[in-house]
Amino acid sequence: MLYLRYSGRCSGLGHRFAVLVAAVALLLQGCESRVPDGSTAQLGRGVEQGGVSTDLVPAGPTRFTAATGYRVSPAPSPSGRWLAVAGLRGQGLYLLPADGGRERVVDADFRGPWRWRNDGARDVLCFGSGATADALDAETWEARPPCAPVAHHEEWGDRIHKVGGRTFYHNSRVGTVTVVHDQGVEMIPLDRSAWGAKVSPDGRYVAYCTGNLAKAELILLDVAAGRTQRLGTGAHPAWFPDSARLVYTAISRIERLGRAAMVTAATLRLYEVATGKSRVLDPTSGQTAQRAEVQPAVSSDGRNIVYADWRSGAIYRVSAPRKVVP
């Protein structure tokens, strides 16, 4: 007598119905992502359009770069029409139109400092070190009068900001911020390992980091009061134009791979100066395939934030929320 039976069989209509329900449930589960507050975020399928593509990401962030080449250090131009990015390990300089379109290679072999210069209504990219830096008109792709190097003072360090008759310098060797104004010079000692100092547009605050990036701590200095406040783990601060908020990265996991280090998990956070509160910029970021959100930059109108994902080498753009606490 031969009996043939199969494990996990479902006999009867009830079982078949249960299987059907389970299949439908699985299908639905794959179409949405649950966020911590219990709501759901719709995912979009990847599409290619010009040089801009959107990958399987939440509705918020949009992938800004095509999947060719590893890009880091995004910097919006003063007008917001362009985005300058660097290549892997800071080698190479590229331009992306903010409204999409093909990436333009400024110099694939370039290594060194670069920054934007606002020539009236024109966006000019300055790149290079030494006495002068090359200048390129992003719109016309023509050379412009060379850029002066970043001002440097032996004692005060590099000039990092200028607003309302006050000029800010940062000396990373001794860890000081120096404010030069009409009434004189004011030198403010920071932590001995301070780096990456960013002055708020109104000059009231300086956000800076201490320690290695792997364990960086973000600190906020009230310039007038000379008082500092530790904001916790964080790096790469970027101010909004209104000086009321800043966005930064909180690195949660870093791995040493071969002869380099890889940030494998990092989340952008938004900090509001008035309330002293911060929150994750994109609540859905933890639900996606582990991005390393770093190097945020705020557009000149404060509406958008661009950042690099060090896991994928892609640049993302996300709309900036109006308030930290909605």
Partner: protein
């Protein structure tokens, strides 16, 4: 007299020169500085740290010095005694002269060198050296360093890409000549099969090198091709290509009677009847032979037949076990039903 004094002067000068020469030529251990900036020279690399440690009235004799600490790290990490300990600004040329690889590409576990008055690393008139802890995809680097009078002890910080390259030099560990051989694109994730139908993955680091494989995940329950005993009548089942067990093929007596479904298997020590038909079932479902008694290896405890509710259990001796129990239960139910019917009839009457 003059000759004598000349001779004395010559002797004194000669002695002084000899002393100086001895001082210079003395082995490093003779001038070892075992502590600087709060760090102890505890690593073993064939020699003691002979670098100068800056001192002042405030912090005492071990305030710190970038060259002392860079030498110390080379000793601890590379396991070698650097041949020099000159001003920081000269370390690039000394490294080249001593056969070390010197590049402008930063790399983990290298010594960074800033020449004098390099604005990118705010080096002073003596230059600056330190140790590279990490290199990130954007080209920024994590470093640790000591300073001469600028601060006390070790500090850690991050240089951005523009500062890290190409204005700074990096002394590589002997034998290492490059840091940028790309095996992959940073951020890429490679997945591969492992173990029993499992998967493992690795991530490409910012140095274009693959990281280590992750632990094998989502493995199946068996190895493809393996077999094991199953069911209640000495059946066997084979592991399929998906690393899951296939159907159970069992051998049962012709007179066996199917039992209800169950997932409770019999122990491997159970010996099935030899004269049965072949039965295939899912571990534990199948016929139960009438009158057949379970057989066990000597020394094993028989399974309660009541638990063997499925498969080819090869048991159900008359008058005992679950079979008789079930029969008794059915009889009781039948008796109860009949009683109810009788009571109803009586009521109708």
């Amino acid at each position: 007299m003059r000759a004598v004094s000349r001779r004395r002067v010559s002797s004194v000068v000669a002695a002084a020169l000899l002393g100086l020469a001895l001082l210079v030529a003395a082995p490093p251990s003779a001038r070892a500085v075992h502590e600087c900036g709060g760090t102890q020279d505890t690593c073993v690399c064939g020699g003691a740290n002979f670098c100068y440690c800056c001192s002042d009235t405030t912090n005492g004799t071990n305030h710190g010095n970038c060259v002392w600490y860079a030498w110390h790290k080379a000793c601890c990490v590379w396991g070698i005694t650097l041949e020099w300990c000159t001003d920081a600004s000269t370390w690039d040329s000394y490294a080249t002269n001593n056969g070390y690889t010197l590049l402008t590409t930063p790399c983990v576990d290298t010594i960074f060198v800033c020449e004098t008055y390099t604005s990118e690393c705010n080096s002073g008139g003596y230059g600056h050296v330190g140790w590279v802890n990490a290199v990130f995809p954007d080209g920024s680097i994590d470093v640790e360093e000591q300073g001469c009078y600028s601060w006390y002890g070790i500090r850690t910080r991050n240089f951005n890409a523009a500062a890290a390259s190409p204005t700074m030099y990096y002394i590589y560990e002997p034998g290492v000549t490059s840091c940028a051989q790309c095996d992959c694109n940073p951020g890429d994730v490679e997945t591969d099969g492992c173990g029993d139908c499992g998967t493992e993955s690795r991530t490409c680091g910012g140095d274009c090198q693959w990281g280590g494989w992750s632990a094998c995940q989502n493995e199946g329950v068996c190895t493809d091709g393996a077999t094991q005993g199953c069911g209640n009548c000495g059946g066997t089942q084979q592991c399929q290509a998906n690393c899951q067990w296939g159907v159970c093929v069992e051998t049962c007596p012709d007179s066996s009677v199917p039992l209800p479904d169950s997932t409770t298997p019999l122990p491997d020590s159970w010996v099935p009847p030899s004269d049965g038909a072949t039965t295939t079932s899912d571990s534990g479902t199948g016929p139960l032979p009438d009158g057949a008694a379970p057989q066990y290896d000597s020394g094993t405890t028989p399974i309660d037949p009541g638990l063997v509710t499925g498969g080819c259990a090869c048991q159900s001796g008359s008058g005992s076990g679950s079979g008789s129990g079930s029969g008794s239960g059915s009889g009781l139910v039948l008796l109860l039903v009949l009683s109810v019917l009788i009571v109803r009839r009586r009521r109708r009457c």
